[in-house]
């Protein structure tokens, strides 16, 4: 192989390397899953023992603000990618839907607990599924399946059963998955690679 051919191959390799480098990101979002998981528990506890219609809307707004503050303090300097914007759009859209639904359902007080849990779980299943398909991330699709299962069970179960299923789904899909994501992100950052967790 001549020097000229080697140089051409070198240029082609440089393009591939830089495209891979550009798509790599060090964004960290695992903490948001854990934070929102805790927020759901707070809202549930407040609504159950405080008997307040304000529990869900107030907790959701407070957690939304807290998420925005923490994210801005983390000083994310990563440039926007199409994939990142797609993921962001899904979670913002589902977040707004959840807020509108929780606020309206709490204010109206006409929806039973099982229906409320089924709707919330189905929406979270949708967001996780769409996100996992974009990222090609099996672990997150498992979360979507868990949420959808919780939604389906809640339609048939008693109030107590659906509450237990909802609490278990929050633990599995928010706390456990968020912690797993944080560990993956830290590990990927150390290794300088990127997979589903650090891809968005």
């Amino acid at each position: 192989m001549t020097n000229e051919e080697l140089e051409l191959k070198d240029r082609l390799s440089l393009i591939e390397t830089m495209i891979a480098e550009g798509r790599k990101t060090t964004e960290r979002w695992g903490w948001t899953f854990v934070l929102w998981g805790v927020a759901y528990y707070v809202a549930i506890a407040w609504a159950t023992w405080g008997h307040s219609n304000l529990a869900w809307p107030v907790t959701m707004v407070a957690t939304g603000l807290l998420t925005a503050v923490i994210a801005s303090r983390m000083g994310n300097k990563e440039p926007e990618t199409t994939m990142g914007r797609a993921i962001w759009a899904i979670w913002i859209a589902v977040g707004v839907s959840l807020f509108v639904f929780c606020l309206s359902a709490s204010a109206a007080g006409r929806i039973d607990q099982q229906t409320f849990i089924a709707a919330v779980a189905a929406m979270l299943g949708t967001a996780n599924a769409a996100s996992s398909i974009i990222l090609k991330w099996g672990a997150q699709f498992f979360c979507a399946l868990a949420w959808w299962t919780a939604a389906a069970i809640s339609c048939f179960a008693t109030v107590t059963q659906s509450s237990i299923v909802f609490l278990a789904a929050i633990f599995l899909c928010q706390i456990v998955f968020g912690t797993y994501m944080m560990i993956s992100e830290a590990r990927e950052k150390r290794a300088g690679r990127n997979s589903g967790a650090a891809h968005a």
Binding site: M1, T2, E4, E5, L8, K9, R11, L12, L14, I15, M18, I19, E21, G22, R23, K77, E78, P79, E80, T81, T82, R85
Partner: protein
């Protein structure tokens, strides 16, 4: 006006000299993956110095391959670079020319 690539000679395409420079090629490849990027991000990804990076980005800007936007965020100056449509077209043509040249080298 965006710079046009050289005309093909002897049936084989010629590589666009504006893109062929290593750092300029790296910058265009990086910018092809994002909506827009800060100067500091490009510097970190290419491990280049401020002076060299600024000079190469200026060449790309003069060729019409990159657009620059300067603004202030929280009173700090921020320079954002975005690949133009002409830049994307030029990079695509460069890659095609590169593959054609490599293909012809293998066939010889």
């Amino acid at each position: 006006m965006p710079e046009t690539p050289p005309e093909p000679e002897n049936g084989l395409p010629e590589l666009n000299p504006v893109i062929h420079g290593k750092l300029r090629l790296a910058l265009l490849s990086l910018l092809s993956t994002v909506e827009e990027a800060e100067f500091t991000w490009l510097r970190a990804k290419t491990n280049s110095t401020d002076g060299n990076l600024g000079a190469q980005l200026l060449k790309l800007e003069e060729a019409g391959y990159v657009a620059v936007e300067k603004k202030f965020v929280l009173r700090k100056p921020q320079t954002l670079y975005r690949m133009t449509e002409a830049g994307r077209q030029a990079l695509t043509e460069y890659v095609q020319a590169l593959k054609q040249l490599l293909g012809s080298a293998i066939n010889v």
